[in-house]
């Protein structure tokens, strides 16, 4: 699997993303600067976490208008796989590659902790190594992860199996108490219509080493390698 990682001024989890991609695929991703208008030919484009352009407008709003994101949108249309994590998810909603928006966490504070997540759809190129209903743990680290979409969109996402992950408890129970940021229907990650674009708030790239306290994140990267190699 050949991959590329997009870098904006203010991106800060690129090394975490690079480490995870390299661990799973055996090769280093190419790095693409935000001003580029063309992308290398790759199987996967990853938009990592951080604070692109400081996120001084809305999170991801400035990055969504950057030259490189026009190229990413073209690639998405052409069927290339794209994963956006945290700020990457915010950027994907700002470019409308994914529906909805990520608002300030309901409790208004930044939150960094290991979160339990329920794999809702294990039949995607990103999640095939997991079982449907499986509970995995990845860390979250965000201020604006409160997923919002109108109920029509939410119904559609659910109906089409496009909710990839939800916040749950250790036993997989999805409830208001397990919703760590106020997201509609506990949504932590969603897919686009064609299933080639995934956006998610949690960080699988920070759960790939036993010394991280768990390796649940590896399944996501190995799923992609299997599907895209």
């Amino acid at each position: 699997m050949k991959s590329a990682v997009i870098l904006f001024p203010g991106t800060n989890r690129e090394n975490d993303a690079i480490a995870a991609l390299e661990q799973a695929s055996g090769s280093k991703p190419q790095l693409v600067w935000h001003g580029e208008t063309e992308l290398p030919k790759v199987d996967l484009i990853m938009i990592p976490g951080g604070f692109s352009y400081g996120d001084y407008l809305r999170s991801g709003a400035m990055a969504g208008k950057s030259p490189v994101m026009r190229a990413v949108a073209d690639q998405a249309k052409a069927g290339v796989s794209i994963i956006g994590v945290c700020n990457g998810f915010q950027i994907l909603t700002e470019t409308h590659l994914l529906p909805g928006a990520l608002m300030r966490n309901a409790h208004l504070k930044f939150i960094c902790k290991r979160a339990a997540l329920k794999i809702e759809n294990a039949e995607t190129r990103f999640t095939s190594k997991y079982d449907a209903g499986q509970v995995v743990k990845y860390p979250v680290a965000h201020h604006d992860g409160n997923y919002f979409a109108d109920s029509e969109t939410l119904d559609r996402l659910e109906g089409e199996g496009r909710v990839a992950l939800r916040y749950c408890d250790d036993d997989g129970v999805v409830a208001p108490e397990t919703n760590l940021n106020g997201s509609q229907r506990n949504i932590a990650g969603i897919l686009n219509e064609k299933g080639n674009v995934l956006g998610m708030m949690p960080h699988p790239e920070n759960a790939i080493d036993p010394l991280h306290g768990g390796i649940d994140g590896r399944g996501l990267f190995s799923s992609m390698v299997e599907a895209l190699s």
Partner: protein
């Protein structure tokens, strides 16, 4: 036109308003041989402020031990540099931002974090971990909630955006901080030992370059404000608090490191307190050269700024560099890529003067050596702190319920979990955090290596107040112990000395005592001071804070996979107490929380015993003989076992044998140099301990879902966790 800038008439009153005493005015006049211009007066004012000149503390700071084979660079540069093997160096320092954080908690704390990170990356290191030591007033004080909320958000807002994990620290409350909170931020960076950047300017004619954000009017006289006591009008000083832009700093970090990868930089210095003034003076002084600055070339945020304002502004996210000749364009390209300002604003000269020009006309001219060397240094009068009363353990009454007292203690503001705080900090970014916040010391791995750095910040101000010498010793020992408890070898410390008004002999006595105690401990534990910061005048209306010399230490561990934490992991293991329990009850948490008495001598640290016990613990961890380890500190044995049980979600039973002390004393005494271990190898450990002459006793067993103290006095872990985890979120959720 330019001389209009200095049209303001310099009067003795104006000089006094700049915080310069009559005596200092005489020295100033001798140096200049004439009345200073307004711009020059401003420069003297900040350079001779307590904050920049360390005039009250320098005499004593010089007595601290600062050397060792591990030390690459001790105090005097932007941060301390320590060898961590493999040709790598850890660069670290702690710095206070107390006064600004009280006035404007979000920006004050945020720029404190930004400032300390710049101190580290200006030396060529990528920051890999942040810590912060916070002290707030009484939880009942009407401002406390607002200050906690703002400071924590500010620290998170800056550190999170920078992508540097905030991995540790401490937060406590005490009424002495009601009008004067403490915000001490620490950063650890990683550099190649042969590629460290210093501030010494050289090369006559070389360009002096300004990079980073533009200069505005924020923070003018911040250093002077940080050198005065607060009064009722302190809120009016808000405009002197700087405003942080973490995004600009992130760009500055990446641009500086990119430029540093080449060889075009001769010297570099961040613009922190006293901005352009202190950075240029520092570079010229260290290099024994002069610097000429063309102030009209400084990138400015607003129009109409004067030389006085430019020299004194504390706008954030700026650096000053001296480049090799002809390398300006190469450097400019990097900064333009990162969309940062880049301007050649001066040149290195052989005059040893700081000469300021505006459109070619001189607006200030100060000889650098006397500005620095003749800066005031006071050997302020001091009196030793009177000896505190000795608390006889036998006079301390037993509580009606041991588990009841324990629950009250671990749910008290100072002992309660600070999860509400550290979950607002990204402690995982970079993917190298091995031991997260909430333990004895945090551990971060060095990228691409198995080794890691363990780090902790510590101080028990109640001990220091009762006996500054013992308290100073204890702060160093506690930090050393926390690092040891992870299995790491302690290397060096940074100290952040937070005290009241040094012009009062009793406060100066606290400072002197703490320095003496720290020195003793640093020597005995081979734990030298490589950087530090002093914050004095932490007083409001004549009321000083508790003396708070915070120690930030680092250690190195060869294999982070072997690093230990406090969480109990296996049932049916033995709990082994290392070290001797004599039953010291003075200045303890028990006395404060259960009896409402803040008094008595603090526990004495026997440094030889401390070292022996710590070395023993490190060997046990390295040999793989323990499954959990925790040092004993506030609240003694009972609070330690509770921490371990809560962290591991596994119960434990302490068997209380008749030690002749009384159970509450055995459980809550705060004797030093002790650790609690969980192990399946108790026999082997006791054998080794006997051979090494280390006191070791089996004090209990792991297992179950409750904590049992002696025969049948049990409390469920769930109840303890509720008390421990509940206090801070509940407190913060209440309306002010």
């Amino acid at each position: 036109m330019s001389n209009d800038f200095n049209a303001i008439e310099i009067t003795p009153e104006l000089i006094a308003e700049h915080g310069i005493t009559e005596e200092e005015r005489e020295v100033l006049m001798n140096i200049m041989g004439r009345m200073p211009t307004y711009t020059e007066l401003g420069i003297f004012s900040v350079m001779w402020s307590e904050h920049c000149s360390y005039k009250s503390s320098r005499f004593w700071l010089k007595t601290l031990p600062t050397e060792g084979p591990q030390v690459i660079c001790g105090p005097g540069e932007n941060a301390g540099v320590v060898d961590i093997g493999d040709g790598q160096a850890a660069i670290f320092k702690m710095e206070s931002h107390n006064h600004p954080s009280y006035i404007e908690p979000y920006q004050g704390a945020a720029t404190g974090v930004g400032g300390i990170m710049r101190d580290v990356f200006t030396m060529g290191a990528r920051p890999i971990a942040n810590l912060n030591a916070l002290r707030f007033g009484s939880p009942d004080h009407p401002k406390t909630r607002h200050l906690v909320s703002g400071v924590v958000a500010g620290i998170g807002g800056y550190g999170n955006c920078m992508g540097v994990p905030t991995v540790g620290g401490e937060t406590t409350f005490h009424p002495s901080y009601n009008g004067n909170i403490l915000v001490n931020a620490m950063t650890i960076g990683l550099a190649n030992a042969d590629k460290i950047f210093y501030s010494k300017a050289s090369g006559i004619g070389n360009p002096v370059v300004y990079v980073g954000s533009k200069t505005g009017r924020d923070g003018i006289h911040g250093a002077t404000m940080a050198s005065a006591e607060f009064d009722d009008n302190s809120d009016e000083k808000r405009p002197t608090v700087q405003v942080g832009d973490p995004f600009a700093e992130k760009l500055l970090l990446e641009a500086c490191l990119e430029l540093m990868a080449g060889d075009s930089i001769i010297s570099i210095q961040d613009m922190g307190a006293a901005g352009l003034t202190s950075s240029s003076v520092e570079m010229a002084d260290k290099g024994e050269v002069g610097i000429e600055l063309w102030l009209d070339k400084v990138p400015m945020r607003e129009e109409g700024m004067t030389p006085y304002e430019l020299m004194l502004s504390e706008s954030q996210e700026r650096m000053l560099m001296v480049l090799k000749p002809g390398r300006e364009e190469e450097a400019r390209k990097i900064f333009e890529k990162w969309e940062l300002d880049f301007a050649v604003i001066g040149t290195v000269t052989d005059t040893r003067h700081l000469v300021l020009k505006w459109d070619g006309e001189v607006v200030g001219d100060i000889p650098v050596p006397p500005l620095v060397d003749a800066s005031p240094m006071y050997e302020r009068p001091w009196e030793p702190t009177p000896k505190a009363v000795e608390i006889d353990a036998a006079s301390v009454a037993a509580p009606s319920s041991l588990t009841g007292a324990l629950k009250q203690m671990i749910g008290s503001p100072n002992m309660a979990s600070k999860r509400w705080i550290w979950e607002q900090y990204d402690h995982l970014v970079m993917g190298e955090t091995i031991q997260s916040p909430g333990g004895d010391a945090a551990v971060v791995r060095i990228p691409g290596k198995t080794k890691g750095i363990a780090t902790s910040s510590d101080c028990n101000p109640v001990y220091v107040k009762a006996d500054p010498i013992e308290g100073g010793k204890q702060a160093v020992a506690e930090c050393w112990r926390n690092i040891t408890a992870t299995g790491a070898k302690p290397l060096a410390i940074t100290n952040n000395m937070n005290f009241g008004n040094p012009e009062r002999p009793n406060i100066m006595g606290q400072f002197v005592g703490a320095i003496k105690g720290m020195s003793e401990a640093c020597i005995a534990l081979d734990f030298p001071v490589v950087s530090g910061n002093v914050s004095l005048y932490n007083e409001t209306k004549g009321e000083g804070i508790l003396p708070t010399p915070v120690i930030g230490g680092i250690g190195v561990i060869a294999d982070v996979a072997k690093s230990m934490n406090m969480a109990l992991k296996n049932a049916d293991e033995e709990l082994v107490l290392i070290g001797e329990t004599k039953g010291h009850m003075g200045s303890t948490l028990y006395l404060r929380e259960i009896e409402g008495r803040e008094e008595g001598t603090p526990p004495v640290v026997d440094l030889a015993v401390e070292r022996r016990n710590g070395d023993f613990i490190r060997d046990l961890i390295d040999a793989g003989l323990v499954s959990a380890c925790h040092d004993l500190s506030d609240g003694g044995l009972a609070c330690a076992v509770t921490d371990m049980a809560m962290a591991g979600k596994l119960g434990a039973t302490l068997s209380l044998t008749d030690s002749g002390l009384g159970n509450h004393v055995a459980l809550f005494a705060e004797d030093q140099g002790r650790y609690l271990l969980s192990t399946a190898n108790a026999d082997k450990i006791l054998e080794k301990a006997a051979a090494s002459g280390v006191p070791a006793t089996i004090v209990g067993k792991t297992g179950g879902d409750a904590l049992t103290l002696g025969d049948g006095d049990a409390i469920s872990l769930a109840e303890l966790v509720d008390a421990h985890e509940g206090w801070l979120p509940n407190y913060m959720a209440q309306e002010a």
